[in-house]
């Protein structure tokens, strides 16, 4: 088996939002194959359709037309319970606003997806502590989100995304609400997880710090993929990068 294995395949995906009489075309026919284990960044100006693509790949919303395959399963074929299973087991989500459940401690946040997956409380606890240690927060088990800094909250969220050993981690602007230094640490953590645990990381971002560690970068504009490049080829293009950071 030498052929490249694709963990996600996006085929002719169009997404339109109805806004009263107006139709907004957020994605205008996107094709994309994501290689298992790669770090893929989706870059593009504000409103270009990054979050919309995130929703499609994450099974959070349905395309108007076209299809998305995760591990060769067509998501359109899944019913609500199967979709919930997919979200719970196959995909880990990381958000710009961290999205920890405010009423729960760091540990409870991390064990929640395990509870949803039917893992026993004891095992969930054990794995949760392990994951918190992995992201460098072993001492913050009982802290509530409000007692943690932004960077720490994002670390908890990253640990939570790994809860059920997903094949994909999807991140939407994971560094968008963090300062430069903290953002860098989060990016490094994601990179480390990708190499150590062999997870596929797909991250929508404006953050140019992300370029250094991505294996491939998808540039998207007005709902279309403008170009797709590997990091090795990137150095030539630095001049063009500036215009994108809107």
């Amino acid at each position: 088996m030498n052929a490249t294995e694709y963990v996600v395949r996006v085929r002719d995906v169009v997404k339109e939002y109805e806004m009263g009489k107006l139709t907004v075309r957020a994605l205008a026919g996107v094709n994309l194959d994501i290689i298992r284990g790669e770090y893929l960044s989706i870059m593009g100006p504000s409103g270009s359709g990054k979050s919309t693509l995130f929703n499609m790949i994450g099974g959070l919303d349905k395309p108007t037309s076209g299809s998305v395959f995760i591990d060769d399963v067509d998501m359109a074929q899944l019913d609500a319970q199967e979709l919930a299973y997919l979200r719970c087991h196959r995909i880990g989500y990381i958000f710009q606003t961290f999205n920890l459940i405010p009423v729960m401690t760091a540990l409870e946040n991390i064990t929640l997806p395990m509870i949803f997956a039917g893992v026993t409380a004891d095992e969930a606890r054990e794995r949760g502590v392990e994951l918190l240690t992995l992201v460098g927060l072993g001492g913050r088990v009982q802290h509530k989100p409000t007692e943690l800094s932004g960077g720490q909250q994002q670390r908890v969220a990253i640990a939570r995304s790994l809860a059920n050993n997903p094949s994909i981690i999807l991140a939407d602007e994971p560094t968008g609400n963090l300062d430069l230094k903290t953002g860098k640490e989060i990016i490094e953590l994601l990179k480390r997880l990708q190499t150590e645990r062999n997870v596929t990381i797909i991250s929508a971002t404006h953050d140019l710090k992300m370029l250094d560690i991505s294996d491939r970068i998808v540039w998207i504009r007005d709902g279309r993929i403008e170009r797709l490049e590997r990091r090795e080829d990137l150095d030539l293009q630095v001049g063009e990068v500036e215009g994108v950071s809107g």
């Binding site: 919930a84 979200r87 999205n99 009423v103 050993n165």
Partner: protein, 208 residues
Amino acid sequence: MNSTQPESKTIRKQIKLPLSVALRISLQNIKIRFLRSMITAAGIFLGIAFFVSVRATSLMTPATNPGDTAAIEAANRQTWLVVMSLLMCTVGITNSMLMAVTERYKEIGTMKCLGALDSFVVKLFFIESSFLGFFASVFGFLGGFLLVFLLNLIRQGGEVFSVIHWGAVFALFGISVSIGVALTVVATILPAIRAAKMPAAAALRVEV
């Protein structure tokens, strides 16, 4: 810890969680948002207290003679008031639960991203509200009953003890709690549907 790819790639159906999980999360919700929960509960508390005070008064006053039309009319008017006040507090609960759903849109969306089924989200809201409804009704009963009891104790002295029918008081307790819980559950139908329909993508929404 080496690479841990999922053992099998088949997509199964997400499991239904035992009620105890939803129960624990609901109670946490009440505890953390204590003030807001108490305000929600206050509606039911007051409604039930009023209902109980009206009913308890008739339990503690010697029976009116059947021909007394004025007394019957007064009783009817009171029933009308009680029904209206209970309806008002139902609407109040619906309102505050709807606000709770709006407030927690991101949390609900996130839970769905993590694998929560719609039915689980629905359970969370029903458990939360019926729990509040139950305790508010119990305290509403105690509040309403004790108030009337004390007033009658002052007015009639030891007489009340001979007039009062404890079996009826006990029945009143059962009725009040049932009404209180039933009304909160009814009041939560709309908010729970709204919560269940919240798209998972709501987790990504960023307010500007």
